[in-house]
């Protein structure tokens, strides 16, 4: 009983970690499976086939490439737009500021199905053909709010005296921005960009409404495949992405730790 009380926190922690990690482990394990039928849902035998031929599933790598490209493009554009908007909203008082703040929340609050459907209506009435362009526009729309919110929090926490100090130390407004403001807001911008990419990359609902007949993103491919049979390669991509995310976090932590060590 005493032992339990002492170690309860550790046990609960491990259970929570298991809860979070098990789905990922399943993805990794099943990337080494050689399924008996079309579906990769039951363990059959170990194999490296999928790893040796990651693009073996027809159309999958094209879909992956498209998703990566749309993710990077929409994250880049919405990061630039969102950062500028965040500075405007965080810094300046102008007429319609509070209304704009409200407006920023709409895309985050709107259910995705509603947004997807109404965007399609809009594109059709504008005569815009569904395809990569419409997907890109849609993704920028719903990611930009997240960028604005993330960056604005960072801008708001910035001490205005720092920029005044830079001006006092002979920095022009442009130099002040690049030497003081930007480096201090950069973590927020980076976080916003990653968030935007992640949201864009795994979006299915809005994308599905606004993709043309021939445009197929990775989430759409996976969804479509699950109707007919799931290629093991999906698990390979899933594993790589999971490890990639872990690597990014690991590198960020290592850099942080090194910096702290150098400082001390």
């Amino acid at each position: 009983m005493r032992w339990l009380r002492k170690n309860l926190i550790v046990i609960i922690g491990l259970l929570v970690m298991a809860y979070i990690l098990i789905p990922n482990i399943v993805v990794v394990v099943f990337s080494f499976n050689k399924p008996a039928g079309h579906y990769n849902y039951e363990w059959s035998q170990f194999s490296l086939d999928a790893w040796l031929d990651p693009c073996g599933a027809p159309g999958m790598c094209d879909a992956l490439g498209l998703s990566l490209w749309i993710g990077i493009a929409s994250a880049t554009i919405s990061t630039i737009m969102g950062t500028m908007a965040a500075f405007a909203l965080g810094r300046y008082r102008f007429i319609g500021r509070s209304f704009t703040n409200l407006l920023v929340f709409f895309p985050m609050a709107t259910p995705e199905v509603v947004m997807g459907a109404s965007l399609l209506t809009l594109f059709i009435s504008m005569g815009l053909e569904s395809g990569q362009t419409t997907i890109l526009i849609a993704h920028i729309l719903f990611t930009v709010s997240f960028v604005i919110t993330t960056v604005k929090a960072r801008v708001a926490s910035l001490d205005p005296a720092l920029e005044q100090a830079a001006a006092d130390l002979y920095a022009t407004p442009a130099q002040t921005f690049w030497k003081v403001t930007f480096p201090l807001v950069a973590p927020g911008i980076g976080a916003g960009a990653l968030l935007a990419f992640a949201l864009s990359f795994d979006d299915y609902i809005v994308t599905n409404f606004n993709a043309g007949a021939t445009t197929l993103t990775f989430p759409m491919f996976v969804w479509g495949a699950s109707q007919r049979g799931t290629p093991v390669q999906i698990n390979v991509i899933g594993t790589v992405m999971f490890l990639g995310a872990v690597a990014i976090v690991g590198i960020a932590q290592a850099i942080g730790a090194r910096r702290r060590k150098v400082d001390a």
């Binding site: 001490d159 005296a161 720092l162 005044q164 100090a165 830079a166 001006a167 006092d168 130390l169 002979y170 920095a171 022009t172 130099q175 002040t176 030497k179 003081v180 480096p183 201090l184 150098v262 400082d263 001390a264």
Partner: protein, 365 residues
Amino acid sequence: MTEATQRKAQGELRLVELERRYDDFVAVNGIELDVPPGSFFALLGPSGCGKTTTLRMIAGLEEPSGGRIFLGTEDITNTRAHQRRVNTVFQSYALFPHLNILDNVGFGLRQLKVADWKTKAMQALELVKLADRAKQKPRQLSGGMQQRVALARAIVNEPEVLLLDEPLGALDLKLRREMQIELKRIQQEVGITFIHVTHDQEEAMTMADTVAVMRAGNIEQLGAPAELYDKPATAFVANFLGQSNLLPIEVTSITGERATVSSHGTSLVVEAAAIPSEAPDGLRLGIRPEKLRLVEATDTTWTNKLSGEVSDASFTGVSTTYLVRMPWGQELTVTQPNDGTARAELGDQVTIAWDPHHAFMIGVD
């Protein structure tokens, strides 16, 4: 420093009818100020009187609503902050958190394209005794150290005028006293004009050559610390710089250098020269607590004597402070040095006396 003499000739700051309004509110009301080069100038005043606003206008961080600012012979009113050879030590220090101490101190020099900025920045850090912290980040330093970095960062650029906005405000008393001495030493060493904003009268008086007392956007009085203390021009200055006993008086006669006045029926002698030419009525006589003496009622060496009852006595070690209630109800504060003279007890009838030339006179505000 060879450049110091040259800088001394330039660093004169002149404010002409400088004004700053926020809507209807006048924060700085057309002040005139002449700060001689190389001086340690203190702007003293209560909270909200416009000290920071004045400083920010000099730095170029705030736009004046009217008036002009001259640095040397140059009119800098319309130049921007980064174009002015003026540096500020901010109240919050405002060190750049993403840069290490050396880069913080070298920021201005690099903007000015000084080639050996690193050497100069290190020298400045040595001046404030923080050379060993050059590679650390601001958050790793204590408040007092950060304050010294802020000072080094401003001084290293050898500005014509250095503005300090309550730079010691966040420090504890001991560190504050240390930094006051340090600041004064550095100012004498580099010879830059310092304008030091504070609401601590003791700090202003110990450090500055000249003190300007501000009140509600105006400069109430300007002068050397001793002059302000001994001859305050208004009741506000008299009470802001230390304590004062103020007695309402009427002039009864003037004979040569001496004048006779009466206060609550008691006849007192004052120096005729000390009577202000304007405000002949509502005149008050002021006398500092430490200039009052407890004397024998029969003592005839003192011309000015008042009697009353001790209503409070507090012993502080170096001195004893008494409150003496006058027959008309007013309580006068008397500070008696702990020099072996007899101490009075609560309820004692005592006589207090002072030398005529220790008194000052002010009109109504």
